[in-house]
């Protein structure tokens, strides 16, 4: 996906619908608003960074910027589906570069992320049972439906709460 292609689509779809980048974690589909995604790239080599929580995979050099890369399956404690047995032992993963208010972070996903446009009306605000469960400060913004597909829309800004960013201190 080219960055300029993204921005083009962003222009067209701003009004009535939400443009999402959709990826899989475990067996479910998740989406992040395209405005929060700076780029999607093949995961570069990641250098482990000791003394960080396990969901921080390490840091990587993306076009000269060195950013932390996070594994959301680990972050949400989602069991990865059993890896399909493939010919090549090592599979490529992709990294979504996300821009939050004051930092940039990489999100590692296993399959090629797709881009998808959903009318706002197709996104159900976070159902109350999820709010009641009080999972991780409502990082789920809503649930989108497209045919039989169900897409969990994440509010990326809430994935790492302020406390957690602070907690990263050794």
């Amino acid at each position: 996906m080219q960055p300029d292609e993204i921005s083009e689509k962003r222009e067209i779809n701003r009004e009535s619908s939400v443009h999402l980048i959709v990826f899989k974690l475990g067996s479910e589909e998740y989406g992040i608003r395209i405005e929060q995604v700076k780029e999607v790239t093949l995961t570069p080599e990641i250098a482990r960074m000791p003394k960080t929580p396990p969901f921080i995979k390490g840091i990587a050099n993306i076009r000269g910027d060195i950013i932390a890369v996070m594994d959301l399956e680990e972050r949400f404690k989602i069991a990865p589906i059993a890896p399909e047995v493939e010919n090549s032992g090592k599979r490529n993963t992709y990294t979504l570069v996300l821009e939050a208010k004051d930092y940039t972070i990489g999100l590692m996903v296993r399959e090629v992320p797709q881009s998808l446009t959903l009318p706002i009306s197709r996104i159900e605000k976070t159902p109350s049972f999820i709010q009641d469960l009080n999972i991780n400060d409502n990082y789920i913004e809503g649930i989108g439906k497209l045919g039989s597909r169900l897409i969990i829309v994440l509010d990326f800004h809430k994935i790492l709460s302020f406390e957690e960013v602070e907690q990263l201190k050794a």
Partner: protein, 544 residues
């Protein structure tokens, strides 16, 4: 490289020519609105500065002429002289002459073409003339109006910072290209990359050179400051300044400014005794404070020495116990340098005991943090009744730092050379488990040793106990690091080379993990974490 004197001269000329241009501009405006006080004030200011600068560097003709013009404009300002007709002509001619003098400052044979001009100037300011126009002699026009542009440009430090950052990026890419050219084994690429190497190196040095300023630009502010503090404290103090010509990066000088001020204030307020007390100790009535700078390979040493009463070691020891840094019996065994190192501990500075007895230690942790932030070091020595010396080891430039590269568990790490003392290889048998700490005897000193692999993998707040069982192989590569008068050995898996690195800051959210000082990219494109020695030694000191 030009001599300092030559450089000062060039700066003076460039500035003076700028003043000259400004004067001409203002004069032309004044001719249109002769009563404008603002323009007059500006002209006055320019002439005054020019006079002072010229006098300082020894161009007396220029300072004399500026003085005469200043006097004339003083009269204009007081409405004792009207800026019109002949007076205006004389003043225009005077400013022209000023320009002539400035442009020909290097020419020893230069003569003022028409002495009448000076006489005219004197005539219009001579008293007793009232408003009547004095006799003015016609002057030969000497100026054939060539326009020349200044040889100097002023540049914002921000722009130089940006340039330096770009150079940093360039160096990283250059190293990458060089390593690629080796991998690809292409002769052509090798030739190009070695040329690229030379050029980037030259760019780097040029940019660094452009950022250098004299230490004197900071030091020369101290005579006045010392005088004021000394007077407030009712002490007599002589300040000696040595090595103003040493050059250092402007931003480094900026960062240490407050620290140095702090140290100077401490030395005067708490270090140097009052006159009467000094006489009792057979010291001279006047205390001496020495501020010196010296080059030491790639570093600059800045030293502040006083001949005061020195730091009260027993009081510091008491405070170490009182602040619960160490138990009482442990403190007694500390070496003097170790005792003094506690002065820089955060929180220690608040110790009442210290401020009461000797007044030292106020905010020294702040000073140390400032120096750490630029990768420098601070040391203190003190002798009772002889005085105290603070030594700042500072890098000349912020951009590129020497570092030692090594590997731990397949990851690349670097430590700044500034903090490394030596590298040793020791056999497992030379390491001893003392309590839960590994200790080795290096150069007659028992040094605690950390197995970095354990340290990095340990996610608790506690220091992992040192155990020989987990070490791999029999020979251990150990980097001895030194910080705040403490030594510590780090066992690494594989040692690489020394290399100049460009440190990038880590970005949020992983920017506040204290053991990392930043990150750098190696020529291979791999990411290399820079370990922060101050943080690691602190870990060890507190958590052992």
């Amino acid at each position: 490289m030009k001599s300092r004197e030559q450089e000062y001269k060039e700066i003076f000329i460039a500035e003076a020519l700028e003043y000259f241009d400004a004067l001409n501009r203002h004069l032309s405006n004044l001719e249109k609105t002769p009563e404008d006080d603002q323009i007059l004030a500006e002209i006055f200011r320019l002439l005054h500065n020019l006079k002072a600068n010229a006098k300082a560097i020894g161009y007396l003709q220029i300072s004399d002429l500026s003085h005469k013009l200043e006097t004339a404009f003083e009269l204009v300002r007081k409405h004792e002289l009207a800026f019109r007709n002949e007076v205006a002509t004389v003043l225009f001619d005077g400013v022209d002459l000023l320009g002539e003098l400035i442009s020909n400052v290097d020419d020893p044979d230069f003569k003022i073409s028409d002495e009448n001009l000076i006489r005219n100037l004197e005539a219009i300011v001579s008293p007793g003339l009232g408003t009547s126009v004095p006799e003015v002699t016609k002057v030969a026009k000497f100026n054939d109006r060539n326009i020349s542009l200044s040889d100097l440009v002023y540049i914002q430090i921000k722009k130089l910072d940006h340039l330096l950052n770009l150079v940093g990026e360039l160096i990283i890419d250059r190293d990458r290209i060089i390593s690629l050219s080796k991998d690809l084994n292409s002769d052509e690429l090798k030739v190009v990359s070695s040329h690229l190497y030379r050029i980037t190196e030259e760019i780097q040095f040029s940019v660094m050179d452009a950022r250098l300023v004299n230490v004197g630009s900071l030091f020369n502010k101290f005579p006045r400051i010392v005088r004021d503090i000394a007077q407030a404290e009712q002490k007599e103090i002589q300040l000696e300044i040595i090595g103003q010509d040493i050059q250092i990066d402007r931003n480094i000088l900026q960062i240490i400014t407050d620290s140095l001020l702090h140290l100077v204030r401490n030395a005067i307020s708490h270090g140097i005794e009052k006159g009467a007390e000094r006489l009792k100790k057979n010291k001279s009535l006047q205390g001496t404070l020495t501020l010196s700078a010296q080059s030491d390979r790639d570093n600059v040493l800045i030293r502040l020495a006083d001949d005061g009463k020195g730091i009260d070691l027993p009081a510091v020891k008491k405070a170490i116990v009182a602040r619960k840094f160490l138990p009482k019996d442990a403190v007694e065994d500390l070496r003097e340098t170790e005792v003094l190192s506690y002065l820089f501990e955060p929180g220690f500075s608040m110790a009442k005991e210290i401020t009461e007895f000797s007044g030292r230690g106020v905010g020294l942790d702040v000073v140390k943090n400032a120096i750490d932030s630029i990768g420098g070091r601070i040391q203190v020595q003190s002798a009772k009744d002889k005085g105290t010396t603070f030594t700042l080891h500072l890098p000349t430039s912020i951009a590129v730092k020497g570092a030692l590269l090594f590997e731990v568990e397949g990851g690349y790490y670097a430590i700044l050379l500034m903090h490394t003392d030596s590298v040793v290889s020791l056999d497992k048998d030379e390491l001893h488990e003392v309590g839960d700490v590994l200790v080795a005897n290096v150069k007659e000193e028992s040094i605690p040793i950390i197995y970095l692999r354990d340290f990095l993998n340990n996610n608790t707040d506690k220091m992992p106990p040192g155990s020989k069982y987990r070490l791999n192989g029999s020979v251990q590569n150990i980097i001895i690091v030194t910080y705040n008068n403490r030594r510590l050995g780090l066992i690494v898996d594989k040692l690489y080379r020394q290399q100049d690195i460009v440190i990038k800051a880590l970005n949020k959210p992983v920017d506040n993990i204290d053991i990392y000082g930043g990150v750098t990219l190696l020529g291979t494109g791999k990411v290399c974490l820079v370990l922060d020695v101050p943080a690691i030694t602190r870990y060890f000191a507190i958590k052992k």
